[in-house]
Assembly symmetry: C2
Homo-oligomer: 346 residues x 2
């Protein structure tokens, strides 16, 4: 077990290499103006003593402030609201660690609005951007410009092709869809029926991936069921409530509903007064969905922890800016399953 006490410091390196503090610092930070020989001597000392920099002291001396901005849609969604709440609540503690958080909410379903936000941030010169946006060419180009300007860009919740971002922070949505299907198939007490698939946006990659995963498991493991074509409802509660009656009328025998939405209000309202009680699996733990689960309108929730997402995004932007390694396991966002029984206290 670890037991060493005093780690070597820059002073030790300097002494060991027979140079000054300033020179050690130069090679440590890869600054120019050091003869190759000297550099070599210092590097040898670093290795021999097993030096590892004290980042806390470094940041203190540097008096550096990190500015990170979260960019995500302004749609009326409890999930995004929870994300925003988390950012707010964490920004206090982080401001004491030289890290400033900001939020930009973009026009929902409008990639031009994302582009403007990114370009604006690039010109302001933030250090990192965590963005949730559709995968359009315009967005991709704006991200490219930001990255060219030296800004770290991480994808939030919905992935972006890896060549366009430094990290992805979110769940594996295909697995999430598969998980929902497995629960659905097991929870329904029948071997056949129709399953309704609702989504906020047919464009967003995360929703698409869920559908693929869901279909794969349903057809392989529960072939008696028919998953109906995706219905897009754009997080509009009224839209949901007006569409659903017709849907349930058109397809009789709806045994299950898989709701890949970021706002569940409309669905809950409809189900509360519906006489048909299908098995319902929804996404994201929010006050509304929690109530839905507790009241038995929902049977299970697939979720991702917004607090964890925000912490991971910040850590990842930080380590990327500082170009130090990160702990991949800690940053992996879990696909959480909630039943009424394992709901965390509110």
């Amino acid at each position: 077990m670890t037991t060493t006490l005093s780690k070597p410091t820059v002073n030790d390196i300097a002494r060991h290499a027979g140079v000054s503090l300033a020179t050690v610092d130069r090679v440590l930070n890869a600054r120019a103006g050091v003869r190759p020989v000297t550099r070599e001597r210092v590097n040898r000392a670093i290795v021999e003593l097993g030096y590892v920099r004290d980042t806390a002291a470094a940041n203190l001396a540097r008096n550096r402030v990190y500015r990170f901005t979260f960019v995500f849609p302004d749609s009326p969604s409890e999930f995004y609201d929870s994300l925003e709440a988390q950012i707010h609540s964490q920004s206090d503690a982080l401001s004491n660690e030289r890290t400033l958080l900001n939020i930009v909410r973009t026009q929902a379903y409008d990639s031009q609005s994302v582009v403007e936000a990114l370009d604006e941030l690039a010109s302001q010169g933030v250090d990192g951007i965590a963005v949730n946006a559709p995968e359009t060419p315009a967005v991709r180009d704006a991200i490219g410009r930001a990255r060219k300007a030296g800004i770290v860009v991480v994808a939030l919740i919905s992935d972006l092709p890896s060549s366009f971002r430094d990290h992805f922070i979110g769940i594996d949505n295909r697995s999430a869809g598969q998980t929902a299907a497995q629960l659905m198939g097991r929870f329904i007490n029948a071997n056949e029926g129709c399953i309704l698939f609702l989504t906020s946006s047919r464009l967003a990659r995360d929703h698409l991936e869920r559908r693929h995963g869901f279909d794969a498991v349903m057809s392989a493991r529960f072939p008696g069921f028919k998953v109906l074509p995706t219905i897009e409802v754009r997080d509009d509660a009224h839209l949901v409530e007006s569409i659903l009656p017709n849907v349930f009328k058109t397809w009789n025998g709806i045994a299950g509903v898989y709701a890949s939405l970021s706002s569940n209000h409309g669905l809950i309202e409809y189900l509360r007064q519906s006489v048909i009680k299908p098995i319902v699996i929804a996404h994201e733990l929010t006050p509304a969905s929690r109530a839905g689960l507790q009241q038995g309108v929902f049977d299970a929730l697939i979720s991702q922890d917004t607090g964890h997402i925000v912490r991971s995004a910040v850590r990842l932007m930080r380590t990327t800016v500082e170009s130090v390694p990160h702990n991949a396991l800690q940053e992996r966002i879990r696909i959480e399953i909630f039943l009424k029984e394992n709901l965390p206290p509110a």
Copy 2:
């Protein structure tokens, strides 16, 4: 959104209050030797300027090293092994943050061994102990002695009455049992049958709580099932394998198995060759249980993230020692549910 740049420092306080740095430090750290009037003046300055101490700088100046020790049983358990692995893997990064981790594995099911470990640590003078132990009077007294010696003690995985420890890091085991029951009842395609309940130790509080939660939900929601008396197997793979054949012979119609074990090897071995294929819900994600889930021997896993547990324990011991607040939400260990589909990549 947050946007302020420069926080007030001790220098600002000193100037504002018209005293020296040393005096500010005295009141900040509640050291003696300051006239009430002066103290009052400094406190007012602190409030007025909204000062909040930079702990990184403080630790640097103090050159303080935190010594924390994890104490848990030495039983042949994949779960405890995973805990140990996490401690090892995190101790590297932490040693760069002035935090040293140690491990003491006690004789399994022997509270005297725990007592000796605690007393030894108290005499060595560590800063914090994270302990997993049965709730016996001797253990309770040893914890009391350690705390009296100024050591922060947190309970790990299995709770200890709140008056005996500073924090509990682990899941709500009653809820975990309820969750298992809900899944069990839903997954079994029948309305009646026997359910087997296996446990490592009938003494440990966590296992007891699971049983209570499990029974509550089974009898309320799935009354057709009979949950058999608890069978204690002490994490002994051979014991499990030798007992189970008889159990399955004695009780015909075993529809489900709830395994509250910290080592699943024996159970998996038995089930692999068994002709009866009950629904099986087990605890903890380990290489063995992962394989069990993937091969269909297990239907679901209830788990707690050992990485998270270690990080939380360290943060909690640290904040308690420093007497600064912690983020309760971040420290809440989740009751995770794993199906084959949402298993994280190995």
